[in-house]
């Protein structure tokens, strides 16, 4: 892990109007195989990607929201959600999926993956990254 880079994927768009959300998720899952220090940020309309109860039957697209729950298995467990973006859209943490990861070193204890942060806290996290990917 000594050469691991801090890579953050920033998600700003609603899940189905464009292909960005799904593309981002696929890149994250592929990238996870390279054992980098991966984190995700959800802001602006990107927070809708994590909402519960998505139903895509009316638009003929695959509902990929269950895939976010697999991120913990891929050891992607730092998921930052911008608090202001949620508030601006009348959403709270309860409207989002409860994403967890299991800590193998603590007998598979379930731990929360989502970290609710203010915009200024998120700026600090962004400034600390080696690589940023914008989606």
């Amino acid at each position: 892990m000594s050469n691991a880079k801090k890579m953050m994927y920033i998600n700003r768009k609603a899940p189905y109007g464009t292909i960005y959300a799904w593309e981002s998720l696929e890149v994250v899952l592929i990238g996870a195989a390279f054992e980098q220090d991966v984190s995700l940020a959800f802001m602006d309309d990107g927070v809708y990607q994590l909402t519960k109860g998505q139903d895509t039957s009316g638009i003929g697209m695959k509902n990929f929201s269950p895939t976010y729950a697999a991120l913990g298995d891929f050891e992607v467990n730092k998921i930052y959600v911008d608090k202001e973006s949620l508030e601006e859209r009348g959403l709270t943490l309860d409207d989002l999926q409860h994403l967890v990861w299991e800590d193998e070193d603590e007998d598979w204890a379930e731990k929360d993956s989502i970290r609710l942060v203010s915009r200024s806290e998120l700026s600090d996290v962004l400034a600390d990254q080696d690589v940023l990917f914008n989606f």
Binding site: E26, L29, A32, A33, F64, P66, T67, A69, E102, W108
Partner: protein
């Protein structure tokens, strides 16, 4: 596009032999796919295949090898959750070959 015959039924596949529609999957086609690779499916194979189908059902993706290994270890015990065991069962690569028999698309990022 290609196709596979099993037990009098025809199953459509892609050019690499993965099922075109995972809903058409059944145990017969899995066994025929395995026979084409000179592989006889045992209980140990089925454990992994069934696990993959359940995983896909829940998350809508196939797990990467590393994820599969860890999850199998958790579910079926440490003696099965290692790449040696899984590669003995599926010498062409546990994720790739087992996903094929399970009727899933080729795992994301798998070449």
């Amino acid at each position: 596009m290609g196709s596979i015959e099993a037990n009098g039924k025809t199953y459509e596949t892609d050019e690499e032999g993965y099922l075109a529609d995972l809903n058409t999957w059944d145990k017969d086609v899995a066994a025929v796919m395995a026979n084409l690779d000179d592989c006889e499916l045992t209980e140990n194979h089925w454990e992994v295949i069934n696990f993959l189908r359940e995983y896909y059902e829940e998350y809508q993706i196939a797990p990467a090898v590393r994820v599969l290994t860890k999850a199998i270890g958790k579910k079926l015990g440490k003696d099965k959750g290692n790449s040696k065991y899984l590669y003995e069962l599926f010498p062409y690569g546990p994720a790739k070959q087992a996903c094929k028999y399970a009727g899933l698309p080729k795992p994301t990022g798998c070449v």
